[in-house]
């Protein structure tokens, strides 16, 4: 079920109304579980079993870690829990890739293994297994990480219910934001209607639906030309513009989804972490990764980069750690070597940046230098998005070849106009943030325009929504 489908609105209104009924106050958690199971099962009913198994595995192993007294037992359960989560993710998401890469493909008629490998990718598996790993590691570090206001020392049954909610909470189930266990569990408590952050929720929902339904869904119908073999017929200038359009589209799609998830969670009394902080104004690659998919960056930093040693073991080890984290982070996005390549490109950029960090170009604070750095980051990020749009390496290669060779083909302005029209709100969105950051005497006057801006965005959603398309990150 998509957040943008009419059915979802009816579903959410029903859940919301039931959730805040006084009689339901003590049953809010079971209601959320039922709603989340229904939400997930609506599109892949047979894979709900995998989700429940994964959640149960995480609950059981984390509980064993929590109640274990001896350090060796706790470590063993931690390793077992993390290992099982990785095994589930590895088999269902990467099993096909590994099998295709190293042997002849098995089909659905080739026994149980073939049948399992032929299953479609379970939606959200990358997210809920990362939540499971976060839970187990957080508990191993601090057994109070899963304490809730009503259950500071949860029983096994309470912990199972809380963990099922943590992993299946429908606003963030299929595409995040990834919230760490020690940030989610303390929020598990009965919620009151009077405490709903209406302003925060409505603002997040308006901007989220605008970015998704108006910007991303409309851009989808133009950037589809950035596909193989259609891209072979496009001029180099058109290809560049399509790539820029895709850059705007993927930001609007994912940031829009995240804001919708945050807004829906707020309506249910839960705070999810911010996932995007105006990433396209970044002046360095390291800054970009503190602004883009922030919840994933935070997860990788805490559960992978730091345990590998971070930057504490010398330059060489730091660079290795960066490459490992970025390549695995890329591979997390999709079961294809092009995603690892995408991550590797970012890893190389981070390393290169560290090497030149002390240079005048990077140290200068004047406007021209900052603009040049931001342009460099944005240009690089936009170019390597091609590996997302064209996950077959051969097709991505064809794009770069066409980019270099098709300058003689005629430029088609029509699609460029459309991309410019829908990229403008993305530019304005970032510009508004820069203006807010700059502050100044006129800012407080400009702030009074906020209701007008949100009202205009809301009306544009009704007037100019594009055809409904699935969220790009659903495929991950």
């Amino acid at each position: 079920m998509l957040f943008t489908e009419p059915l979802f609105f009816g579903f959410f209104v029903l859940v919301f109304c039931l959730y805040y009924l006084p009689a339901m106050r003590r049953h809010q958690l079971p209601l959320l579980l039922v709603a989340s199971f229904f939400f997930y099962a609506y599109s892949q009913p047979y894979l709900l079993l995998l989700l429940v198994i994964s959640a149960t595995v995480s609950a059981a192993t984390s509980y064993a870690v929590m109640v274990g007294e001896r350090r060796e037992r706790k470590l063993a359960w931690t390793v077992a829990g993390v290992g099982l989560n990785i095994a589930i993710l590895g088999f269902f998401k990467y099993g096909g890739l590994i099998e295709r890469s190293f042997s002849a493909s098995l089909g659905p008629d080739d026994g149980t293994l073939g049948a399992l490998l032929s299953l479609p990718l379970p939606i959200g598996i990358s997210f809920y297994t990362f939540h499971g790993i976060s839970l187990i590691v957080d508990v191993s570090r601090n057994r109070d990480a899963v304490a809730t206001p009503e259950a500071p020392h949860p029983t096994a049954r309470e912990h199972l219910r809380h963990t099922l909610l943590y992993l299946t909470f429908f606003p963030q189930l299929v595409a995040g934001p990834i919230i760490k266990a020690h940030n989610f569990y303390p929020q598990i408590a009965p919620k009151r209607f009077a405490a709903v952050d209406w302003t925060g929720a409505v603002k997040a929902l308006i901007v989220g639906y605008f970015l998704k339904r108006v910007v991303a869904d409309n851009l989808h119908n133009t950037t589809y030309l950035l596909s193989y073999p259609a891209l072979l017929t496009q001029s180099s200038l058109n290809l560049l513009i399509f790539d820029l359009g895709y850059s705007a589209q993927i930001f609007a799609d994912f940031a829009g989804y995240s804001l919708i998830a945050i807004g829906l969670a707020k309506l249910l009394g839960y705070e999810l972490p911010k996932n995007f902080n105006f990433p396209y104004i970044s002046e360095s690659f390291s800054e970009f990764w503190t602004r883009w998919h922030m919840s994933l960056s935070a997860w990788l930093r805490e559960y992978l980069y730091y345990p590998l040693g971070g930057n504490r073991r010398g330059a060489g080890r730091t660079y290795l750690n960066l490459m490992v984290v970025m390549c695995l982070g890329g591979l997390w996005h999709g079961a294809g070597w092009s995603y690892a390549l995408w991550g590797g490109c970012h890893g190389l950029a981070l390393i290169a940046e560290r090497l030149v960090h002390g240079s005048r170009f990077y140290a200068s604070r004047n406007v021209a230098a900052r603009l040049a750095r931001a342009s460099l980051v944005f240009g690089f990020v936009t170019l390597v998005w091609v590996f997302f749009r064209l996950p077959r390496i051969g097709e991505a290669t064809a794009f770069f070849e066409a980019l270099g060779e098709n300058w003689h083909l005629p430029f088609v302005p029509g699609s460029a106009m459309v991309i410019a029209l829908y990229a403008a709100p993305v530019i304005a969105y970032h510009g508004w943030y820069l203006r807010r950051r700059a502050g100044g005497a006129t800012w407080s006057a400009e702030r009074r325009l906020e209701p007008v801006i949100y009202g205009a965005l809301a009306s544009t959603i009704l007037l100019n929504a594009g055809p409904i398309h699935a969220f790009i990150y659903f495929q991950f």
Binding site: V418, L421, P451
Partner: protein
Amino acid sequence: MLRNIATAAIVALGFYAALIALWSPDIRSGQDQESDVAIAVERFLYDGPVPYAAIVGSSQAARIPRSALGAGVANLGLAGESPLVGLEIIARRGQIPRRLYIEINNIGDAPDAAFVDAIFAEPRYTLKRFVKALRTTYQPANVVISLLRRAARGRDEVYYPKVADEPLHDALLAHRQGLLAAAPDAAVLERNLAEVKRFSAEFATGATELVFFEMPIDPTLEQSPAVVAVRRAAHAAFPRGAACWNDDKAPPGLAATDGIHLDSDTAAGFWAKLAKTACDRPQPE
């Protein structure tokens, strides 16, 4: 704050609805192919009485420019859709044009029932009749793009030029040859032709004249397995003795941008001949 946001939204909606109701700009094409399809359908459904004639078909028939059609002819050649979709839309409107030109090139494509259902889904179908601003035609982006096109080129219509780059044209042609190498699913083709027969029987009660035609394609593709299979099946279902066919051949030096889609000028030239197809008596074999 929330009250102010809601007020601003309502004012913005009301202002735009009033603007479109009073202005009603002549929008002929939109921001993308999907919008173009929606605009063509909405023009047929909502803009005045039913036209004298209509074309139903796919993206191939859609290449006939509106400026070449003149008043009284609607082009329901819909990119990405089968001719059956156009026929279904006409049938559901309930008022049938006096002449229907039916493109057979893609009659082997399964019709998209969900697309047609979405067009007629209530309450949007009825609301769009009275609130123009809700139509895809008058989406703010389509209005802006239309104005920009008129400012830049003096016309709103999308113009498809000839492909000047020979190697590119050859590559597109080769790709198309591959796509047409296999005949369409025979069961789907038979089912679709039976549906066309049902529509033609229904429309014949209102004395609507049906003209079957094949959009010209690159001569090197005319004997492709897919093209031949569709042609044979269509002629078998609607033999010349009983149905009206356009027999105009492909113009010399035909320029199809990718082998099957004509450039705008060639498509306009073909329409000039198609419109003159005489169907006073069924044509003998």
